[in-house]
């Protein structure tokens, strides 16, 4: 079995150690005998709809995000086709914001988004920085937690058809007040959580891998469990951080 991963703009959007997420996906695939073919996708290079099983978009500094935003927005049709065709997506922080309808900065200027998720983001006065713990139910009846770190000035407001990724247990989340974090649309996930996200939340890495395999083969596989003691301990420590010092407005 072979799956293909397209990583959008790794030269521009790599601020929160996005390569950690990539390392986790590729190792956990390899340990199951799945070959992961990794392909960086730069400005003006195309995503291959139907061929790319997982699309990854990371976060960048404001300047880098502004440099690639027009190119990303122009991809709206190909991204929409990929998501409608069942490709998995993971978008983190800036990448998450830019997959919404638009991002409006403090001066009122708008960066266009690709519109994969029904949401928009408006820059706020204070940055929301700190550890976060979420409770999610991506598969019905399977409650899981995600532990990560958030650092964003943007307030993300979900539109009427958007489904949040999870409920905030500790931390700020999308906007610091709704109690929601991230967005989920089928096999596409957007979130502010970095840390990076996947090493200490291996269940989500495995879920994404399974969705990518399903996009390729048609069936969601049962991936064999891996020894995840270190991952579980790192998750426990990070979750504890969120409880004791997760973000909240004073």
């Amino acid at each position: 079995m072979k799956i293909r991963v397209a990583h959008l703009y790794p030269d521009y959007l790599n601020i929160y150690a996005d390569r950690g997420n990539m390392a986790v996906l590729s190792q956990r695939a390899a340990w199951r005998g799945i070959e992961l073919e990794y392909r960086p996708v730069g400005v003006a290079e195309a995503i291959q709809v139907g061929e790319d099983d997982l699309v990854y978009v990371g976060g960048g500094q404001d300047r880098e995000q502004a440099l690639i935003a027009p190119d990303l927005a122009a991809r709206a049709p190909e991204l929409e086709a990929a998501v409608e065709g069942g490709a998995a997506v993971l978008a983190v922080c800036g990448g998450y914001q830019l997959l919404g309808h638009f991002y409006r900065d403090r001066s009122g200027a708008e960066l266009p988004g690709a519109g994969v998720f029904d949401l928009h983001t408006v820059a706020g006065e204070r940055r929301m920085i700190g550890d976060v713990l979420l409770e999610c139910e991506i598969e019905p009846g399977e409650r899981r937690t995600l532990a990560g770190f958030e650092n964003h000035a943007g307030r993300t407001i979900l539109g009427p058809v958007a489904e949040p990724l999870g409920r905030v247990v500790s931390g700020f989340g999308n906007d610091g007040e709704s109690g929601f974090e991230g967005c989920r649309r089928g096999r596409a996930i957007g979130t502010y959580l970095h840390g990076p996200l996947l090493p200490r939340n291996p269940w989500l890495a495995d879920w994404l891998l399974a969705q990518a395999v399903a996009h390729r083969s048609g069936d969601v596989p049962d991936l064999e469990p891996l020894p995840d003691e270190l991952e579980a301990q790192a998750h426990t420590v990070a979750a504890g951080r969120a409880h004791t010092r997760g973000g909240r407005f004073g």
Partner: protein, 467 residues
């Protein structure tokens, strides 16, 4: 400060300041007695609370004025080098223990009232305020790398605050800037007194920019820079192929650079004053940068070329920065790591010596370390992982480090996780044969804690006493 106002009531003013200073000093001594660390910031905090203008008054008393050093990486070492160069001739007020916020600068001024020259390393975020208060005659700005995004925010933001601060300096002040860093080189545009330093030796350049390099897009038009030589992170000889923005001409440069493994390094210093061969007991290209920054600032402050070369030749590592500590029959080699660019250089330098089979890495997540630990994934640890047989990880986020190496290719069976620092140090030392050396790569608070362990065992002096 209003000069005529202070002349009107000189006596009462100086008495008041004197009383304030004594109160603040007493608090610092109490802090040390209470074993709460070096008490290096307590007097300054108290003084700032009872008289926010005191730091400006104390700085204004220095006959030779003040010089500030700021950078993401190397500010402690660079300012310690300047102190070694100038300190034999000039009495310095120098925050050598690394207390580099407003309170630390104030405490240093309190403790060194007989000093002639203020020499302060300053935190990147605190630079604008400290520059406003101390009115420096020279500033040395050496580099900006991504660092503790949870604390400092984005690079562009810091650079913009620095640009405003530099434009607010006294017009007669000298800006000493690293021309190899595009963000820094452009801060000094249009100023009258500028010293631009950089490396000029293609033989020590890297083949390409490292992973996650910053500031690699033109500051004027956003096009990726073309690098003739990339030296460290995004530092190098760059040119924008679209608009022509390029590294400016160097006033002070390092040529004929020789890196001698872990033993040291040397280079020829070229300056308007002439040239001199400089031999450093410190290894690695990043220490050549530190030495070049220190040389440029010292020359700008009136130092002589021989004085610079001699001072750099005498210089020994600042605490925790390539510091060797004897522990029985073994040696611990401390290399502070705090962000991807600095950690990459530490790893690169370490591997230039005998490749280590055992290492201890310590990751804490206090404010001074950065609460967001994601940066460890941007460090190129893989070359180190490739030669290690055993790795001990420690600190409050030891498990994250273990994951970094597990997914970087090290078998978990080779990794020992011991979050408590002291047992981890002993465990790692036991894995090194007698006569051997253990590389220890700690984050900031872990480094201080490990030095405290060594100090309690009588192996080193506390950091606030170490030169």
């Amino acid at each position: 400060m209003n000069a005529s106002g202070s002349a009107a009531r000189p006596y009462t003013r100086s008495v008041r300041l004197h009383v304030e200073i004594e109160l603040a000093r007493l608090a610092g001594r109490l802090s040390r007695l209470a074993a709460r660390g070096g008490g290096t910031t307590i007097p300054g905090k108290i003084l700032a609370a009872i008289d926010p203008g005191a730091i400006a008054k104390l700085a204004a008393r220095l006959p030779l004025g003040c010089a500030l050093v700021s950078a993401t990486n190397g500010k402690t070492t660079t300012s310690a080098m300047v102190a070694e160069i100038l300190g034999r001739r000039v009495r310095l007020a120098h925050n050598r223990a690394g207390a580099n916020l407003v309170s630390g600068v104030a405490s240093t001024l309190i403790d060194a009232q007989q000093a002639d020259l203020g020499l302060f390393e300053v935190d990147e975020g605190a630079f604008p305020e400290i520059a406003r208060r101390t009115r420096p005659r020279a500033v040395c700005l050496a580099n900006l790398f991504r660092d503790q995004l949870d604390r400092y925010g984005e690079l562009e933001l810091i650079a913009e605050r620095w640009r405003v601060a530099v434009s607010g300096l006294d017009p007669a002040a000298t800006a000493v800037v690293n021309a190899d860093d595009p963000l820094i080189a452009n801060l000094a545009r249009g100023r009258q007194h500028v010293v631009r330093f950089g490396l000029d030796d293609a033989t020590v350049a890297r083949e390409r920019l490292p992973h996650a390099a910053d500031s690699k897009y033109c500051v004027d038009c956003g096009t990726p820079y073309a690098y003739e030589s990339a030296y460290m992170g995004h530092l190098g000889a760059y040119r924008c192929p679209a608009c022509g923005n390029a590294r400016p001409k160097l006033d002070v440069s390092a040529r004929e650079i020789a890196l001698d493994g872990l033993e040291g390094s040397s280079f020829t210093l070229f300056a308007p004053e002439g040239s001199a061969r400089v031999r450093l007991a410190l290894p690695g290209l990043y220490n050549v940068y530190n030495a070049l920054a220190a040389a440029s600032l010292s020359l700008a402050l009136g130092g002589g070329l021989d004085e610079v070369a001699d001072g750099l030749g005498r210089f020994q590592a600042a605490f925790g920065r390539f510091e060797r500590i004897r522990v029985g029959e073994r040696t611990a080699l401390l290399l502070l790591i705090k962000n991807p660019a600095g950690a990459n250089e530490a790893v690169r330098t370490l591997l230039e010596g005998d490749r280590p089979a055992v290492a201890l890495i310590a990751l804490n997540d206090e404010v001074a370390d950065g609460r967001d630990v994601s940066w460890i994934w941007d460090v190129d640890f893989e070359p180190l992982a490739d030669c290690l047989e055993r790795l001990v990880v420690t600190g409050s986020r030891a498990h994250e480090l273990a994951l970094r190496f597990k997914y970087g290719g090290l078998d978990p069976a080779q990794i020992t996780v011991e979050p408590r620092l002291e047992p981890a140090l002993d465990r790692a030392l036991e894995l090194v044969p007698p006569g051997g050396q253990l590389p220890v790569l700690p984050t900031y608070t872990a480094m201080l804690a490990l030095r405290r362990v060594a100090a309690d065992r009588g192996l080193v002096r506390p950091y606030w006493e170490a030169a």
